[in-house]
């Protein structure tokens, strides 16, 4: 397993920034912003689901926490957008710590953990949908105010640049994981919790840190989403669609790898747009394709596109060693 160098990551980020200013059409610009937001959400999912092996079906809980923090703080309390962003990210970490504390105390993993995260996200969705403070079923409309202090730009390329910056932070966090004690502990407890404990790993503390970082990154994606579309409601912010897209992008791209979530988000959403175009707008076709890709990638490339590319490119006879 070769790990990407920081220089490689820098080149990729620079390339993305160049593309952003290469004169994309409005639609493509919007698509790329959306890709970066999903990539960021997927990077968050990947910390917990990929490196620590705790698959969550409810990352909407974090995404929604960020999105609602952004919307509520700005519209109700007149908080500055940048400060709201920071608070939103912190809230994501806090929600993560809350869910993690309850679930990991009880030792939940595997399908139980997946289901309980889904249930938490659903509870959040129902609450946001019926509480006046969060705008109830009508949702929240953010005010259009362009300018750097408002984190909104007349020229959308600058907003894209901000999302790319956040994805870059996500890449660096993942890169750091692969070169740190914390990251080694995450993988160790994913592979064998007992053995990790025997080596002095405080499994509970490590999981708590992982879910907090994971929640923070995905909440950042939620913040950017709210700021980009200027409207959220419970079904958008806490809906299962985002839990699923974050998970899909990470797994299809390669869970537990630095570049997997970014590659997965670009490939999936690119394909999604393609299918939408080809099928002439039949509803659900893009998700149908996502589902098929997920099943195929679990079946034939359990390590994701990143590893598939590596094994095809680097080692001619792919060493398909199943654990």
């Amino acid at each position: 397993m070769t790990k990407p160098r920081l220089a490689t990551l820098a080149i990729i980020v620079a390339a993305l920034a160049v593309i952003a200013f290469a004169g994309l059409s409005g639609a493509l610009l919007n698509l790329m912003i959306f890709m970066m937001i999903i990539a960021l959400a997927a990077q968050g999912w990947n910390i917990l689901g990929g490196y620590a092996g705790l698959s969550s079906f409810g990352h909407a809980a974090f995404f929604g926490a960020g999105a609602y923090a952004m919307a509520v703080l700005q519209t109700r309390f007149g908080v500055n957008a940048w400060i709201a962003l920071v608070i939103g990210i912190a809230l994501g970490a806090l929600v993560g710590a809350f869910i993690g504390f309850l679930s990991f105390r009880s030792g939940l993993k595997g399908s139980y953990f997946a289901l309980i995260t889904l249930a938490f996200a659903e509870v959040a969705r129902i609450l946001a949908n019926s509480w006046n403070f969060t705008g109830g079923a009508a949702g929240i409309l953010l005010k259009l105010q362009t300018g750097l202090p408002y984190l909104q730009f007349a020229d959308r390329r600058y907003f894209l640049l901000i999302t790319i910056g956040c994805v870059a932070i996500g890449l660096v966090v993942s890169w750091w994981l692969e070169h740190s004690r914390f990251g080694a502990y995450l993988v160790a407890l994913r592979e064998n919790e007992q053995a990790a404990q025997a080596l002095g790993v405080d499994v509970f503390a490590v999981k708590m840190k992982a879910i907090a970082i994971s929640g923070a990154l995905t909440a950042a994606a939620g913040c950017l989403y709210a700021q980009n579309y200027l409207f959220i409601d419970a079904n958008v912010a806490f809906g299962s669609w985002i839990s699923i897209e974050a998970l899909f992008a990470a797994i299809v791209g390669g869970s537990g790898t630095v570049l997997g979530p970014l590659i997965g988000a670009i490939v999936l959403l690119g394909l999604g747009e393609l299918t939408k175009g080809l099928s002439g707008g039949i509803p659900g076709m893009d998700l149908l394709v996502f589902g098929i890709i997920l099943v195929l990638s679990v079946a034939f490339s359990p390590n994701g596109l990143v590893m598939l590319m590596k094994s095809l490119g680097l080692r001619a006879p792919a060493k398909a060693k199943e654990a």
């Binding site: 698959s55 009880s106 076709m285």
Partner: protein, 290 residues
């Protein structure tokens, strides 16, 4: 405050809706008990069964209850094929793989239905859809009374199949000791697929019971899936009596919480039960295994 009569009526109707929940959960818990997998596609497969019932009724004018006789074998075959040729091979026998493959399947099914039928809701109106049964001073919905009866009958039938037939014995053997069963010549992939098929056939029965009083859209099953998981977890993963009692209990809780909290908040009661059960007693009320 509501009059006692309204409360009792609501709870009884909840109990009977709970019976249909139990039927949905029955298939799920059976699959869990034998294959030890969480079948995330269960809700989507329920939607498929409901659309089948709807098609049969709308096209050929069959009564939804009779449609069960047509749809159950179809769902049985679909379930067998899915497990044997897709879920089994694609997941490489890993827990996480199964979870993701069944999640993928549920998304495929839901969106294939969306592409084919759009997101409209469809209903079947029968002359008994709104009929009520009088029980003393209480008025009970006729389709729910039928649902309750058929669920009990189906549970007994399932129990008989598991205990009196060869395939039932093979299923129980595989559930207890996979390796031992395969050593005495039982084909484990076949038994897995048969179990999955029976679980899907239960969904066909539930679909037939739901259609006279409920609607179907491509997302209908998704609404049931967490309810079904709640029942299975509450009753104890893999326990058939657990699923039955859990289902009835959840039906009552849902009726009570939507009576007192309103429809949109009412659902929260179920999720909270789900979360609390998982946190406090993940083995459920009747489960033995951790």
């Amino acid at each position: 405050m509501y009059s006692p009569q309204i409360v009792v009526e609501a709870l009884l109707n909840g109990l009977m809706l709970g019976a249909i929940y139990a039927l949905i959960a029955l298939g799920l818990t059976l699959i869990y008990g034998v294959l030890h997998i969480v079948n995330f596609a269960h809700g989507a497969l329920l939607t498929v069964a409901m659309f089948m019932v709807w098609l049969v009724c709308a096209r050929y004018g069959l009564d939804p209850y009779l449609a069960i006789l047509v749809v159950a074998p179809l769902m049985f075959a679909l379930g067998y094929g899915l497990q044997r040729f897709i879920i089994g091979p694609a997941s490489h026998g890993k827990d996480n793989g199964i979870l993701l493959v069944t999640l993928g399947l549920s998304i495929i099914i839901e969106n294939a239905l969306l592409a084919a039928f759009q997101s409209d809701t469809r209903t079947i109106t029968t002359d008994y859809s709104f009929r009520v049964v009088e029980l003393g001073p209480l008025l009970l919905s006729f389709p729910r009374v039928v649902g309750f009866g058929v669920t009990i009958a189906t549970t007994i039938l399932l129990w008989l199949v598991l205990h009196q037939t060869d395939i039932g014995k093979a299923i129980r053997a595989v559930a207890k000791e996979k390796l031992g069963a395969s050593l005495v010549g039982i084909s484990v992939p076949h038994v897995y697929a048969m179990t999955f098929a029976i679980g899907c056939a239960c969904l066909a029965v539930a679909a037939g019971l739901l259609m006279p009083s409920f609607y179907v859209s491509p997302k209908t099953g998704a609404a049931f899936v967490l309810v079904a998981f709640t029942i299975v977890v509450l009753g104890g993963m893999g326990s058939i009596p657990g699923a039955l009692i859990g289902g009835l209990l959840i039906g009552v809780v849902e009726a009570a919480s939507s009576l007192f909290l309103g429809d949109s908040l009412g659902q929260i009661g179920i999720f909270l039960i789900f979360i609390v059960t998982l946190l406090v007693r993940p083995t459920g009320l009747f489960g033995a295994r951790a």
